[in-house]
Amino acid sequence: MELTALLVTCLGLMLLTFASLYRAIVGPTPADRVVAINVIGTKTVVVLMLIGYIFQEVPYYLDVAMVYALISFLLTIGVARYIERGTIV
């Protein structure tokens, strides 16, 4: 029962990730693409945690998920600065 719920949530999030990929590819402006990639990053963090609980190896996947969340945040900040000012630094 637990494993079924974890698998259903994991597969649902993967389908939603592919749905968000449509906006990341087609999106009219760069801001739409960055918003879509930001949401894909959050879904990836949650899917990593679900995979860790499915395979019963939570510590390793938890560290990977925390580092991925940090990198996704830095990506959004960098692209936002580039859109606003024209340079990153």
Binding site: A5, L13, V35, M49, A69
Partner: protein, 102 residues
């Protein structure tokens, strides 16, 4: 048993909020409104799924504390990133759009 049921309810609630955020991302007409939908998806959806995971077996107290740390990190960074991105969009595109009307 009751903890498992509560955890599954949290997982399905988080999946519902992720679905709502993705529908908003695909259907809304503007970058700012899409950002409004996806921020709900980030905070409430990810928060509910990670809270639901804490009810399941397979982790010690230390791991539960690290999951709480991940939730707090997501709750701090997702609105900050959305605010920064919205400010960039407003200063580059919104200025031209609002210049004539207002």
């Amino acid at each position: 048993m009751i903890a498992t049921v509560i955890g599954i309810a949290f997982l399905l609630g988080g999946l519902f909020f992720f679905t709502a955020g993705t529908v908003g991302l695909l259907r809304f007409p503007d970058a700012l409104t899409r950002m409004h939908a996806t921020t709900k998806c980030d905070t409430l959806g990810a928060g509910m799924v990670l809270v639901g995971l804490m009810f399941f077996e397979g982790g010690s107290m230390y791991l539960v504390l690290k999951v709480v740390l991940l939730i707090v990190f997501l709750w701090v960074t997702a609105p900050a990133a959305a605010h920064y991105m919205a400010r960039a969009v407003y200063r580059t595109q919104g200025r031209d759009k609002h210049a004539g009307g207002d």
